[in-house]
Symmetry: C2
Subunit: 367 residues, 2 copies
Amino acid sequence: MTHAADGAARTATLTLPRGEIRTPAFMPVGTAGTVKAMMPESVRETGADILLGNTYHLMLRPGAERVARLGGLHKFMGWERPILTDSGGFQVMSLSDLRKIAEEGVRFRSHIDGSEHFLSPERAMEIQCLLGSDIQMVLDECPKLPASEAAIETSLALSMRWAKRSKAAFGEQPGHACFGIVQGGTYANLRCRSAEELQEIGFDGYAIGGLAVGEPQEVMFETLDAVMPSMPADRPRYLMGVGKPDDIAGAVLRGIDMFDCVLPTRAGRTAQAFTRDGTLNLRNARHAEDDAPLDPACRCPACRKFSRAYLHHTVKANEIIASMLLTWHNLTYYQDLMQDLRDAIAEGRLAAQVAEIARVYAREPVD
Amino acid sequence: MTHAADGAARTATLTLPRGEIRTPAFMPVGTAGTVKAMMPESVRETGADILLGNTYHLMLRPGAERVARLGGLHKFMGWERPILTDSGGFQVMSLSDLRKIAEEGVRFRSHIDGSEHFLSPERAMEIQCLLGSDIQMVLDECPKLPASEAAIETSLALSMRWAKRSKAAFGEQPGHACFGIVQGGTYANLRCRSAEELQEIGFDGYAIGGLAVGEPQEVMFETLDAVMPSMPADRPRYLMGVGKPDDIAGAVLRGIDMFDCVLPTRAGRTAQAFTRDGTLNLRNARHAEDDAPLDPACRCPACRKFSRAYLHHTVKANEIIASMLLTWHNLTYYQDLMQDLRDAIAEGRLAAQVAEIARVYAREPVD
């Protein structure tokens, strides 16, 4: 249900049997059945309505059939609200060894133990069904950028054939959704063709994949500008793997509804904090005697109960609590960012809000 | 205030300005300003009334003067209840490099950066005062066991001279306590002499140091049996660095009131769990599909919300949540153990309770 629109952006509520998702939404990444360094109830306290789980990691360890025997991913990891799972395609390309892509699917070796595995569109959907995923993604091929138009076109054609097979394999799963993934690199014509072909198949939502893989932000925004008119307005639009706060703000301005990214969690384990004033590196000695909170406007435990000096000390001492507190803070920052964007859309002042976020985050990181 | 006694054991409440301590008490170890992998409020939820902080670690990083400028250790680490600090003596002997012990004190190099430091009885007390410690320990020398009676006697004499200087340096600190430390290895005559000499100086409580350093449990218990009659009945008695559940139970039976040990926290970071049925190694493959809780009688989040299969998976995947959950569980187990011992003393059935704990924990670890 859409509540309000502001230009191309909209704020809405997506209702699934396991809970409502306020959009634009940021999905914390729970790769291997845990949002790293966080208790599930703490993730919920940050304001997250939905998590992302990684098919690639979960199929290798503990295994999809095992998760199913244990009652599904929600029960296993203690998160009863919605979960979106990717199809494994992106991680097979980026993490596994010795992969071999064919029409049927992709054969690869596990980065954990070298064991051989096979992922087809049908198996990707079967795994996501075994996990009990609420939103399941089609298997796609994710080519590295930059790549020639011919190479992207060949890859795209395979991804579209896989999308059709994925949808057929998904079948009918009441209460569960299946999303297609638009590919096409940075070529506007291929992106639009991909969006149209996916709509002919028919999906519950449409993702944009293969961006945020190293290209400059303006190239990503130009690609979005080109493809968004071809994305259906009555379905959720999901920009996969994005991103920094200013990436997200700019994409919301262009009509994106959903995001996922490891950045806030990974940064939290490497002493980086996102604040309303930009990023901070808590390892920097200038925080050693700073009794001030990380971000005085933040509601998270790291900011309410501890000083920058304490965060600096625990980072330097490699204490687990540093990862716990900074992850908690960064996820809170990201959820507050999304709430601010939702509020700005509802109040018709999104452009100014996005400009302010870009102003802060276009600066060099301060530390 | 003593509530009840059962043989040599007693249960009491120790009242300090920052809070009450129910004895027999187990103090979780917060070495470097954090109980590893735990939020302070979670430590409190386990039932802990008091934490232990390590003078050696805190003097090296972030430094006692810095902690004082930041408002003291309680504020710094977000724990407002009592804190006991050791004097640094034990860790200087076990962790630092190139130490040189003289009458004046001990010169050593930091295990972190090789920098040179000096710890005297006066400086040890000054550091603990700067940290704001509620219970401060005298500086002692901790000889390695086994050692000859002559070597222990020489070491003990130095420790007793240092105890006198420590007490003088502590001076008068209303609301804060200073504990002496009985040394003497496993020699009953030296232990008793040490206890008597400390009482002549006069302390708020009396600790037993230099045990649980590798000697068999029966030697530790024999040493306790020999020295406890010389320990004043009207003061808290603290057995430093102990121990396994059956070590604690046996020491409570012999009249000990306070304990600290890294075992529950360290074990939690290495996949070991203490349960009412003995210890479990969650890394073992037999837990991989076990949907049962770690310990069905336990109230902690690891047992209430997750399965053994989930703990096994997150241990194998080196996920931080495994350390978080198993630490939380182990600290809960230890606090419940202490509550059970307090209840057993109050109800005059301590011997049976201790025998039951010994029966479970004398077995080889099951996994």
